[in-house]
């Protein structure tokens, strides 16, 4: 063995090696992930986009909502939704698997990797999946004519940004979980469900009574959707609100990652 190999320095950018391993695991589920990435948008577009869209067009005309067609109106929201779902799956399951089911994080932590590099690797993997899902989704949206506005491509980075923000928060959340049954109930029924219903996804948030609009204000999906509509077809919002949306998502991202990195480290040291 050469002396150089035996030196064994701590690898720089350790998270990239965790990313590499996570990608190997993720590719084992390529079919499932692809099916979700493609079927989801098709089902949404056919049922809501075309179904509800036709109803709206027939009643208030082709550019009835926000001055654009219904499909163009919902496209940024659908993209952000898909990003959020992809990111969420790809942080929650590996985190539970790593700490609880197969305990693989404890094995990784016996190498020069640390809680932070493992958390970062899981997060980066989720971002790879999110990016690919959003790209696939936008391709399908394009085929359905939902990406017709001149700047519609801007909805792609905004959706990925939303996925990153929500993914970071869920990474922090999942790293605290001991009882996954309760966790899935809370996330599924009380977080994700209401978020999609009250984030102005399928209709403008201001059509809701003011008391219910509150749910939108605390929802990353609403902030991302507003940004997406602003960027893609010039939905009217003030510069202040643009800044508020960006800061909201950025804060989620940064806080989520800080808490997740700390909790990963703490839990592995137990």
């Amino acid at each position: 063995m050469s002396a150089v190999e035996k030196k064994r320095p701590v690898p720089r950018f350790g998270a990239l090696y965790v990313l590499e391993a996570r990608m190997k695991s993720m590719l084992k589920f390529l079919w499932v992930i692809s099916a979700i990435a493609i079927l989801n948008p098709v089902l949404y577009l056919v049922s809501i986009g075309l179904g509800v869209g036709t109803l709206i067009t027939n009643n208030i005309g082709p550019n009835g909502i926000d001055g654009v067609s219904y499909l163009v109106f919902i496209a940024p929201a659908l993209l952000a939704t898909s990003a959020i779902q992809g990111a969420m799956d790809e942080v929650i399951f590996p985190t539970l698997d790593g700490f609880k089911w197969a305990r693989i994080f404890y094995g990784i932590n016996s190498t020069p990797q640390t809680g932070s590099t493992i958390a970062a690797g899981v997060f980066l993997t989720a971002m790879v999946r999110t990016t690919l899902s959003v790209l696939a989704y936008s391709g399908i949206l394009y085929l359905f004519g939902a990406m017709d506005s001149p700047h519609s491509y801007l909805a792609i980075p905004i959706a990925i940004f939303a996925g990153a923000s929500f993914g970071a928060v869920m990474l922090a959340f999942a790293s605290h979980v001991n009882n996954e049954d309760m966790f899935f109930t809370i996330v599924g029924r009380f977080l994700i469900g209401p978020m999609f219903l009250f984030s102005g996804t399928f209709y403008p948030l201001n059509t809701l009574p003011i008391g219910l609009q509150f749910f939108g204000w605390i929802s990353p999906l609403w902030h991302a959707t507003e940004l997406g509509r602003f960027a893609t077809y010039g939905h009217h919002i003030s510069t202040t609100m643009v800044i508020v949306h960006v800061i909201f998502l950025l804060t989620m991202l940064v806080l989520g990652l800080i808490i997740a990195f700390r909790q990963y480290t703490k839990r592995l040291a137990k």
Partner: protein, 308 residues
């Protein structure tokens, strides 16, 4: 020339009010095979995790390869191979993929890892399973893969926490053979076990731990010599009569231990003692003559058996 790879002084670890490790000291030298023997809950695994730089100590000094695991954890872990008590392989990946990704966590080049994989598969006797998903392997195969995985980075110290717990006798013997080969190759081994036969086979030197403290230290033969006689006679009179027979047995040998199911008589010549028992008109239901083991040392030191 001896070189201390691990030095532990006054190490303690508390979990809340519970003192898991209570001020222990020991040194492990290069190429030594060092064991921590003790029952479950003795503080062995906690000690191992602190040395492996994955758990923080409460007080005391620890030096591994000249570094403090609390400060230079990743730098120390880069030179260790760790076999945990509970397997934590990636069950979705194949045998080869597990070896490969583990090497990558150390930042090793793909070329280097690939050059090692066939040797590791041979060592673990898993050549035919190289493309099998880990979830389909038997318990013994998973353990062997975990050991092979810990060797991918050519570690300076191999740390094994209860390496054969939960395996059937045949799988244990295969594993011992593998570990013995590593020992012969001069790798420094640090292992915990609650099996005295494992400790006797694999350890050059060991500490006997109980309730977070070190009860004794030395090589297995010396410990047996120091704390016990050469032979043991085990006699059973039936569970309700053992206690009644104890005083009579005590007359016939150097020392006895009365267990719920049997009496152990410590002596230099067990056959003679057995003859004397029969000559005195006592008739045990069964009797067994054997050499003393670390189990007897442990019993002597703590008044309890290792596996309860």
């Amino acid at each position: 020339m001896s070189e201390n790879l691990i030095e532990v002084r006054g190490l303690t670890k508390k979990y809340g009010d519970f003192l898991a490790v209570d001020g222990i000291d020991f040194i492990v030298q290069k190429s030594e095979s060092f064991g921590l023997l003790g029952p479950n809950g003795a503080g062995k695994s906690t000690t191992m995790r602190i040395i492996a730089a994955t758990s923080q100590r409460t007080s005391g000094e620890v030096s591994v390869l000249g570094k403090d695991p609390e400060i230079q954890g990743p730098q120390i872990r880069a030179h260790l191979g760790v076999v945990p008590q509970q397997d934590n392989l990636d069950t979705q990946l194949t045998v080869t993929e597990n070896l490969y990704i583990y090497g990558r966590y150390f930042g090793l080049s793909k070329k280097f890892i690939n050059s090692k994989i066939s040797d590791l598969l041979e060592f673990a006797q898993l050549e035919e399973k190289r493309d099998t998903k880990v979830e389909a392997l038997s318990g013994g195969m998973k353990r062997r893969l975990t050991i092979a995985r810990s060797l991918v980075s050519e570690p300076d110290i191999l740390i094994l926490d209860e390496p054969t717990t939960g395996l059937d006798p045949q799988a244990r013997h295969i594993l011992w053979d593998r570990l013995f080969r590593l020992k012969e190759d001069g790798i420094t081994l640090l292992l915990t076990t609650h099996y005295m036969d494992e400790a006797e086979q694999l350890c050059d030197r060991l500490i006997v731990m109980d309730k977070g403290r070190i009860m004794a230290e030395g090589n297995p033969a010396a410990l047996i010599k120091k704390y016990s006689t050469k032979e043991v006679l085990e006699v059973r009179f039936g569970s309700n009569r053992n206690a009644v027979m104890a005083p009579a047995m005590r007359e016939l040998c150097e020392r006895i231990e009365v267990l719920p199911d049997r009496i152990l008589l410590y002596t230099e010549n067990a056959e003679t003692v057995l003859e004397n028992i029969v000559a005195a008109g006592h008739h045990p239901n069964t009797s067994l003559v054997r050499r003393t083991s670390l189990e007897d040392v442990f019993l002597r030191l703590t008044g309890r058996s290792l596996i309860e």
